[in-house]
């Protein structure tokens, strides 16, 4: 079959709602795009453990300790499923890690901001997991089977994280003035970076059309961002918090909230590696990897020895 025919058949399957499985024929570009997107997604889960991990030793109560440990552990699990999904496309986990550690692969820029107070932990659950769900729900129906299936499981957990985070914020807002101030301050710092999680404006986002064809995307960055803002504005009202945007107001005609200009120069600065903590996050990942090398080598050596013993037993 000619390559054009293969490509047409491939696209017809996607259009018919069939899932593409790892062993199926696929265009090289489809494979590459998926390796890139799934591994970046996995990296985001893993790097995302760091800002929250920063507070596990200092939670205010035992109940919050257990909740936060479980959440960070879930994120590690998400990383694991996603790395496995990417591996089905013919890239090893070690190679993906190498790309992360050398700065070749990207991860979500939001994790380059610091968690300074306890309220940041609730805010991350509320906004960051909240934004992640909006991005990811559409991926549960994406064309690549292993990715779609990983997303179903991940989305369930993310929505639990979002509720848990918002509940933490509500608790602060119903608490003392100091606690409410802490929550407001966290919202002030995380609001704009959260809006940037949906990526550049549609005019500046070149991949959208191809992504729509492959069902990686069903809505554009701007549509998703708008959806997030509309939902979150209502939640902020419930909590009694003020969204730090003087231009934010309901537009009756559009049926959506209008909002102020996003500082895209900040977005690009952080993406390019010059955010508040890009260097520290990468260093933490590199250190964990480098310090773990002898452990991984030992595990490998041990399992080889075990295999040899088994061989010997069989030979006797």
């Amino acid at each position: 079959m000619k390559i054009e025919d293969l490509e047409k058949k491939f696209q017809d399957r996607i259009d018919a709602g069939e899932k593409i499985e790892p062993k199926d024929w696929m265009p090289e570009k489809y494979r590459k795009t998926h390796i890139r997107q799934i591994s970046q997604h996995a990296h985001s889960e893993i790097v995302g453990m760091l800002p929250e991990g920063n507070w596990v030793t200092r939670t205010p109560t035992l109940r919050r300790k257990v909740g936060l440990l479980a959440k960070v552990q879930d994120e590690a699990g998400h990383g694991l499923y996603l790395y496995s999904a990417a591996e089905t496309l013919g890239i090893s986990r070690d190679e993906m890690f190498r790309q992360l550690h050398t700065g070749k692969a990207k991860y979500s820029s939001i994790f380059n901001y610091p968690t300074m107070t306890w309220a940041d932990i609730g805010t991350i659950g509320w906004l960051v997991d909240g934004a992640a769900i909006i991005n990811q729900v559409m991926l549960t129906r994406t064309s690549f089977g292993p990715y779609a299936r990983a997303m179903v499981r991940i989305c369930k957990e993310e929505s639990f994280h979002q509720r848990q985070g918002f509940e933490m914020i509500l608790t602060l807002c119903n608490g003392t003035a100091i606690q409410k101030e802490m929550a407001q301050d966290a919202l002030n710092r995380w609001w704009w970076p959260s809006l940037m999680m949906f990526g550049p404006r549609d005019e500046e986002s070149p991949n959208t059309e191809q992504s729509v064809k492959w069902k990686i995307k069903r809505k554009t960055n701007d549509e998703l961002r708008q959806q997030f803002i509309d939902i979150t504005v209502e939640q902020a009202k419930v909590a009694g918090l003020t969204i730090p945007d003087p231009d934010l107001k309901w537009n009756e005609e559009r049926g959506h909230h209008d909002f102020g200009a996003i500082d895209w120069s900040e977005f690009w600065r952080v993406v390019k590696g010059n955010g508040p903590l890009n260097k520290e996050r990468l260093k933490a990942r590199n250190d964990a990897w480098d310090n773990g090398e002898w452990v991984r080598d030992a595990a490998m050596a041990h399992s080889e020895k075990q295999a040899q013993k088994e061989e010997l037993k069989k030979a006797v």
Binding site: T59, P60, I178
Partner: protein, 249 residues
């Protein structure tokens, strides 16, 4: 009796809490994703146990909560053994500390399941499955590191050399433990020691490691004499409750 029982619950809870805290420091920094998840999981289990012990202790004491007990005592009032406050020097120390604690913890819980105190028996029955898994995990890693590469063998042996002299404290009976044992509430440490010695001997020998011939150290964490590390552990653990007292979180 009530005071002694309260004190006994602190001993049980503090061991799990301080070890759980040490493990939580590693969250996101493990040598692989799988070990990261496993260690966080063990930490979670331990904190679950802490909550059960301290909720019960709070009930006994009155005018206390699991959190006031966990976070608002002074340094000298913590009852954990010195072994569990040892730092995460490297992965071999983390595994060594975990293994030695698990080899003690499992037979402890086996006895506590038969405690005359129904609450303690119930908590132990719930925790024992977790503890069994912890011991399986830590034993398998002791073997992997001991029988892995030359470097891992040396590191694991060094960790055991450092940690083993601290285990004698686990079996040195305090007044509280004696009292609880006599009432059939607490465990008999001598019986635990038999099972502990057996397990450690077996696993270390499979791991091609040696039990170090070094004298045991005079440590008294159980009566509140801790290392210099403890203050820093508590500074983190208690930070929020100290900085923002009397608030709901």
């Amino acid at each position: 009796m009530k005071d002694k029982l309260y004190e006994y619950l602190l001993m049980l809870g503090d061991n799990s809490m301080i070890l759980g805290h040490r493990l939580s420091e590693l969250c996101g920094h493990g040598p692989s994703l799988e070990t990261d998840i496993a260690l966080t999981n063990i930490s979670l289990d331990l904190f679950g146990q802490v909550r059960s012990y301290f909720q019960y202790a709070a009930e006994l004491k009155g005018e206390a909560t699991e959190d006031s007990i966990a976070f608002l005592r002074f340094d000298r009032d913590y009852r954990n053994v010195i072994l569990v406050e040892q730092p995460n020097t490297d992965f071999a120390h983390v595994i060594g500390r975990q293994f030695l604690f698990d080899a003690f913890h499992l037979p402890l819980l086996e006895q506590l399941m038969k405690s005359n105190d129904e609450m303690i028996a119930a908590i132990a029955a719930k925790s024992i499955k977790e503890s069994r898994y912890h011991l399986r995990f830590s034993s398998s890693w002791v073997k992997r590191l001991g029988d892995g590469t030359e470097e891992s063998h040396n590191r694991m042996q060094e960790a055991i050399n450092h940690l083993y002299p601290l285990v004698s404290e686990l079996f040195r009976e305090t007044e509280t433990e004696k009292g609880m044992k006599e009432l059939g509430i607490g465990a008999d440490l001598e019986l635990i020691k038999e099972s502990f010695d057996e397990k450690v001997k077996t696993i270390l020998s499979e791991a091609t490691l040696e039990i170090p011939a070094v004298p045991s150290r005079q440590t008294n964490g159980k009566t509140g004499i801790h290392t210099e590390q403890m203050g820093f552990i508590l500074a983190e653990l208690q930070y929020m409750q100290r900085a923002y007292p009397n608030m709901q979180w």
